[in-house]
Subunit: 343 residues, 2 copies
């Protein structure tokens, strides 16, 4: 049997009220008393009963994610990583993390049901699309939420955590240009997703600044698996005027691209340069590629954890977090980038 508040109070010769207040950071408790309480908690290993807290406070102490099924997102390699971050952080705070699979067409009603049920105190939004209608909808439901990524267009006043996709791909492209590359290709994520749009923008911007154009035939959009990476690269190589450098939106895509390059008898880093975005997937480490991959790096799991931390913090009204965060991926140069051939 675990220790209960009552026993802890008796042990300390205090009332339950005071102990509870000491634990929850209320001001009307003497600092010394609070220390005593905290010490006793440590010694007895007391943990408040969440069920009782839920009942007493009306809070659910849980956060939810609506996970789309049938669209393939649920089966995306990157999704599990994000999930792990979320769940890990939730467990840490003793929050329940509630996964809600939903067909895309039922998404709206799922959100409504979830918000109304009182089963969760807050929600996550991911896989942002350009001008994503879900943001307005969650606002109208008046339930706390936080977005992983950012919409494009629409109002900007919602809490989010995003990485600076534009800057990352701008900088990656700039590096390629500096290395002498003039024809660069982009193997990107699905066209409707906000991050893909921004990455393309970053590439375009860099090229434009150097007076170059992004050739639309050198841009592919797809689900980010190595299969598609392979196919895209293969098609690029079949062009009369193939690119000398390729940007990949994921190391998974890069894996396929590298295969296509090798198969064509070319060498990564000398014949063709590659820069990929690295979500820090444990399965696909860029340093383990046959030719270690130059990448823009930002951990997807860390993003999940951060997002969860902020949402939970908001619910508990503890800790002050910025409402909007933009992480800047690092550009890490390894061996897959080199001067353009013939320069």
């Amino acid at each position: 049997m675990p220790v209960k508040l009552k026993q802890l109070a008796e042990l300390l010769g205090l009332s339950q009220t005071t102990v509870s207040r000491a634990l929850n950071g209320y001001p009307e408790v003497n600092a010394k008393t609070r220390q005593r309480v905290l010490k006793a908690v440590r010694e007895t290993g007391y943990r408040p009963n969440r069920a009782a807290q839920r009942l007493a406070t009306g809070k659910a102490y849980s956060i939810g994610l609506v996970m789309p099924i049938a669209s393939g997102i649920g089966s995306d390699i990157h999704f599990g990583e994000f999930l792990a971050g979320l769940a890990e952080e939730a467990v840490k705070h003793d929050f329940h993390f509630v996964l809600n699979p939903s067909a895309p067409e039922d998404e709206e009603s799922t959100f409504r049901r979830l918000a109304a049920s009182g089963n969760v105190d807050g929600l996550f939004l991911a896989h942002m699309r350009a001008s994503d209608p879900r943001i307005a909808m969650l606002k109208s439901l008046s339930i706390p939420f936080i977005v992983h990524g950012r919409s494009i267009g629409g109002s900007k006043d919602y809490p989010f955590l995003d990485i600076d996709n534009t800057a990352a791909f701008y900088e990656a492209t700039r590096l390629l240009i500096q290395l002498g590359h003039r024809r660069v290709a982009l193997i990107n994520g699905q066209e409707h997703l906000a991050f893909a749009i921004r990455r393309k923008k970053g590439v375009t911007r860099a090229l434009t600044e150097w007076g170059l154009d992004l050739d639309e035939t050198l841009v592919h959009h797809s689900v980010m698996t190595d299969g598609y990476g392979y196919r895209s690269m293969q098609r690029f190589l079949m062009q009369p005027n193939p690119p000398t450098a390729v940007l990949c939106s994921s190391t998974a895509l890069a894996l396929g691209a590298v295969r296509a390059i090798n198969q064509a008898g070319l060498t990564v880093g000398t014949d063709i340069s590659i820069i990929a975005h690295d979500d820090v997937l444990p399965m696909l480490k860029p340093e383990n590629f046959s030719v270690p991959l130059t990448t823009t790096r930002s951990s997807l799991r860390a993003a999940g954890a951060r997002v969860a931390c902020r949402l939970i913090g908001g619910i508990l009204e503890r800790g002050a977090y910025p409402d909007q965060e933009l992480w800047h991926p690092e550009l890490i140069v390894r061996a897959s980038t080199g001067p353009a051939p013939g320069k």
Copy 2:
């Protein structure tokens, strides 16, 4: 404000006790009264408050899954599908589904913590390995659990749901043999996983019955992505005596295999036959392959749902489920299988 038990009782002119009993299926309630109660529930839309139930009963009304991180399983395409089934079913019963990411080396302590915390009433076990130690461990923790898959060796008295992998691949192989194939290859899942072992066994058995051998150079084990499917197939084709038929443990593997075949200038279904196991991944429908795929089919999501249903049923002590289930995948013939060339 939602309807509460008290109001419902007043409305019916009954005590809370009686209403509660009527709802929870206790015998000491008149059948007519129970009908009245159920009707009122329907009309008022009453839903018991889970937090209160948790507190009063001491049950958590939640089920947990320990999700391995860093090993790549969390990033497995098939994992999301299984997850969706679990979560969907949990939501349906108003259970919380708690995801617990854990590094493989911490798995044991994660199980312990989870069982001790009282945060979950039951656990899932998946990704069974041969003679998996986790089964004995969960037994010793005396917390209800259910296994997706089966261990190989060790005691057999634990609840599981598995598909008959041996039979499925036996029958698939038999079909190939009947079609005249004599050299069949196997692109399988990771070698240490129980399902992969059983599938190989099925293939071996069928071949042996017809006096054939499974050539070990025609068996590859790997994570089941199309990239590995491609690579395996490619290597098979480079052999002096390549197979005329291939079995794939996943449609993802098959996707890659098909690509390799096409690239070699061969045609699926005539030059080389393929049978894949179809987990019914929404992204990878066998009927949408350029040459529709012959498959052994068993929905992974359905398995997740069933497993959740049984675990929840056990916790609520409602409904009688078999303790061990073995689903038999269907063998569905499409266009990717045909007579062996030259026959």
